[in-house]
């Protein structure tokens, strides 16, 4: 029914002003804290460690007062592929194959063992946790706050030629245009559908790709033109790169930020320790 409503699937860069404790934290703390947590979760190989990671992500989502269904929506488009991966992992049991495994069910090359079940649970838990953590950053911080945070964190690397301010600007504009492009694509899909295009129809991949031409060509042209217009508008307002710019959004660290960072880092250490002890 909402076949054309692309914005429905665009959760990246969406700010949800629920004004929680996490919203009020310094963006630098959020970037560093969530980044470290994400790394620690990726490092987990056991089901126990992964589930612990997922639980910590869920706790943060609850703390941010974000509706869990909204937070998980970013997973919806890739759900079929995830399900397929999980099935393969479950049946073919790549990786963990040892004498400790108990075979539960077997059919041809498919072998479901206690190890593969554990591995699938661990995989899914880690993936969901990662999606939640990345969404959490944009749900609780405005894009410009994130950009300012990235810029500040990159500043030490400016000496070796990393253009921190420009990168932050690129980041902001890229995400600023995600909803715009989604709306533009939606409009083109609708316009061509109104002229009889059957964009979903057919199973032949070549025919399906050809059906996309009427959408992709104008999308590409319009995007190029739009970026040119944007560049002109930015130039007209005196933008010439990062040098000597001042900033409306000011970064301010408070005691709560230090406390939050210490707690998250302590938890990261715990997660890493769990992994090391099991490995």
């Amino acid at each position: 029914m909402d076949e054309f409503e692309l914005l429905r699937y665009v959760t990246i860069g969406q700010y949800l002003p629920t004004d929680s404790l996490i919203h009020r934290l310094d963006p630098r703390v959020k970037i560093v804290g969530l980044g470290a947590l994400a790394l620690a979760i990726v490092a987990q190989t056991s089901a126990a460690g992964s589930i612990l990671g997922l639980l910590s992500a869920l706790a943060l989502v609850a703390l941010a007062r974000v509706d869990l269904r909204v937070a998980l929506r970013g997973l919806a488009p890739s759900a079929p592929i995830l399900a397929l991966l999980a099935l393969l992992q479950l049946g073919l049991g790549w990786g963990a194959r040892s004498s400790d495994c108990v075979a539960w069910w077997s059919w041809g090359i498919f072998n479901v063992t206690s190890c593969s079940v554990e591995a699938v649970i661990a995989l899914l838990a880690r993936l969901v946790a990662l999606v939640l953590l990345t969404s959490l950053l944009t749900f609780t911080s405005t894009l410009s706050a994130i950009a300012r945070g990235i810029e500040w964190l990159l500043r030490p690397f400016q000496r070796v030629g990393v253009p921190a301010d420009e990168l932050a600007m690129v980041f902001t504009i890229a995400l600023r245009f995600v909803p715009t492009l989604a709306l533009e694509t939606e409009k083109l899909l609708k316009a061509q559908a109104a002229r009889g295009a059957n964009i979903r129809g057919g199973t032949n991949p070549i025919a399906r790709t050809r059906q996309l031409v009427p959408v992709l060509v104008p999308l590409f042209i319009n995007t190029l033109r739009r970026s040119e217009e944007l560049a002109t508008a930015m130039e007209a307002r005196g933008y010439v790169g990062g040098a000597n710019r001042t900033h409306y959004v000011r970064l301010r660290s408070q005691r709560a930020d230090a406390i939050a960072l210490i707690i998250v880092m302590a938890w990261v250490v715990v997660l890493v320790a769990i992994q090391v002890m099991q490995g």
């Binding site: 609708k190 109104a194 002229r195 009889g196 295009a197 104008p218 002109t232 130039e235 001042t246 409306y248």
Partner: protein, 603 residues
């Protein structure tokens, strides 16, 4: 950018010119350099501009123009006459191929002064979406001052003052892409004002706005002008130009005419020859033999001075549909992003019907639900609650064949010229008939018919590349691309937005031909005069609900309802109203110039 640097080398040649100048925050003191020559803030001498390319395009061919500090100037001209190119020379976004542009005492060729020039001459562009950088309104407004290194403790005051000037302070925390087009343009103006410019250039900044959005921008411009800001506005709207102190008329890269609005609009025939027009009030005055009038008050005063004359019978024009209801919408509601935090209501219990063969106008402010309703008419959106029937198809039923519906309902989106994709005109127009599986000859016949309907010669245009067409031609190709389905119903969203007066008149002509051919029309427009000229019934939407429906004459006589919906009656109806209020015996429901002239006993 390279282009510019090269020219800079040519003139200067010194080693220090190799890189872009270092930037420094601009102090208030330095700005006064520009005020030294108050009577000629902007001086343009023999300006030529040629765009490189094969073949090169001479956009400007010798412009001489002086603009004084505090002036309010309107630049008008057909599409492609060079208006925007001229505007981009005022803040050194473009540099002259030949000739000079001086801002105060500074030549725009002096690369070191570009930043100072841009702090003084600020610009607002046509497309609201393409000029907003930030993800929050207040940060958007701060962008300019940030670039100029305005101290951080000064930024909040700048942002607040600018947003208060345009009445958007309350929306400071919102995301620009969630605002209406009119609000976006007000934010863009605030972004320019935050730099405290002496000159504000608007490049067709109101072209995409609804009447209320446009009126809000006009009011802001008048206030800024009173404060001493120099206003330069590029526009296709003659009533907008009439507000300026001086009008500059451009044609093919030259200045064809310039003078006060009174002087310019006295030369209606010359303007029409330049693909322009005079505002409706001036036109009526002229046909009654009155002096040039720009406002209703002037018109009334001029009419008082004239000897009274007996009214004549007004010309009659009645056009009706032919009976059965071809579209019926009942109790239709629609919500976007249903079930999400950003869910928004677009339609609420809408009833709407269209008779076969009639032209139905759909009017309402931006965001009132017009587009949403239109997309229900060919099944792009399916009813969430309520009922939609088109011809014999019930769209509320999930099993209905939507492609069959799309075949009888052609839908033309706003700015359809942005949707062309094929290399050649003929192929683009043939897309729809081919999708519906017509054979080669039938496709060719459809394409020929559609091109003739929109006034493009089949043999001359079918093999043209779509990229070489003008904006007006591109829009006609896009329209033909929908007509090639030979739809029984044509639904069009803002078909005349952004067109110059001549292209607009041609578009109206296309719709008249379609009606004569028996096509049912549903037209959404912010232009009440277009609706009055084309439609015999009108439905008014306000905030997702139908707030009035009736014949065009009934609806446009209800000024209160229109105003409450962010709209206004067409200019002639407003003038007739004003005359009635001043005691003239004029029949109600007057919509057109010839009717008003007859009622006043004119020629």
């Amino acid at each position: 950018m390279h282009d510019r640097l090269d020219r800079f080398h040519d003139r200067d040649g010194s080693a220090k010119a190799r890189a872009l100048p270092r930037l420094s925050p601009i102090s208030v003191e330095r700005r006064f350099v520009f005020e030294a020559t108050l009577d000629a803030l902007i001086r343009i001498e023999n300006l030529h501009h040629t765009y490189a390319g094969a073949p090169p395009v001479d956009a400007l061919r010798g412009i001489d123009l002086t603009i004084r500090a505090g002036e309010y100037v309107a630049i008008v001209g057909a599409n492609g006459s060079g208006k925007s190119t001229l505007a981009r020379h005022l803040n050194a976004l473009l540099l002259p191929t030949r000739g000079d542009v001086w801002i105060g005492r500074t030549n725009t060729r002096d690369a070191k002064s570009w930043r100072e020039i841009r702090a003084i001459v600020q610009m607002v562009f046509q497309q609201p979406d393409a000029q907003l950088v930030a993800t929050m309104v207040e940060e958007e407004v701060a962008f300019g001052p940030e670039n100029f290194g305005v101290p951080e403790n000064e930024l909040p005051a700048r942002v607040r003052a600018a947003l208060e000037t345009v009445g958007m302070w309350a929306q400071r925390q919102r995301a620009p892409h969630l605002l209406s087009a009119g609000q976006k343009q007000r934010v863009a103006i605030a972004g320019a004002l935050a730099l405290q410019p002496r000159v504000l250039v608007l490049d067709e900044a109101t072209a995409m706005l609804d009447p209320a959005g446009r009126a809000a921008v006009h009011q802001i411009l008048r206030a800024l002008h009173q404060r001493g800001v120099t206003i330069i506005t590029i526009t296709h709207e003659m009533d907008e130009a009439a507000q300026a102190e001086r009008i500059v008329v451009m044609h093919a890269g030259h200045i064809a005419l310039q003078g006060t609005p009174r002087q310019i609009f006295a030369r209606g025939n010359e303007l029409r020859a330049l693909a322009l027009d005079v505002p409706p009030i001036a036109q009526v005055a002229q046909q009654l033999g009155l002096p040039v009038c720009l406002t209703e008050q002037e018109f009334i005063a001029a009419l008082r001075a004239r000897a009274p004359q007996p009214p004549r019978a007004a010309p009659t024009r009645e056009r009706n549909g032919t009976g059965d209801t071809i579209i019926r919408v009942e109790q239709l509601s629609h919500r976007y992003l249903r079930g999400l935090p950003l869910e928004s209501r677009a339609l609420e219990n809408v009833d709407f019907d269209v008779t076969r063969g009639e032209a139905m106008g759909l009017v309402g402010a931006t965001g009132s639900g017009k587009s949403t309703l239109m997309q229900h008419l060919n099944g792009l959106l399916r009813p969430q609650t309520g009922y939609v029937r088109v011809d014999s198809y019930n769209l509320a039923e999930a099993t209905t064949d939507v492609r069959a519906v799309r075949r009888i309902v052609g839908l033309v989106f706003q700015q359809p010229e942005d949707q062309l994709f094929a290399q050649f005109v003929g192929d683009d127009i043939a897309f729809a008939p081919r999708q519906f599986g017509l054979d080669r000859d039938a496709v060719r016949e459809r394409v020929r018919w559609a091109m003739e309907m929109v006034g493009l010669n089949f043999d001359a245009f079918k093999d043209r590349m779509t990229t070489t067409l003008s904006g007006g031609e591109r829009r006609r190709v896009a329209l033909a691309g929908v007509l090639a389905m030979r739809p029984q119903i044509l639904v069009a969203d803002e078909p005349t937005a952004g067109l110059d007066p001549q292209a607009r008149a041609q578009t109206r002509e296309i719709f008249r031909r379609l009606r004569a051919d028996g096509t049912t029309l549903v037209l959404a427009s912010h232009r009440m005069d277009d609706v009055a000229a084309l439609c015999q019934r009108v439905t008014v939407l306000n905030d997702g609900r139908v707030c009035a429906r009736g014949t065009t004459r009934e609806i446009f006589a209800r000024a209160d309802v229109l105003r409450a919906s962010g709209l206004d009656a067409p200019p002639i109806a407003r003038l007739a109203d004003a005359l009635r209020a001043h005691g003239w015996q004029i029949p109600a429901n007057i919509l057109f110039a010839d009717e008003l002239i007859a009622a006043l006993g004119g020629a």
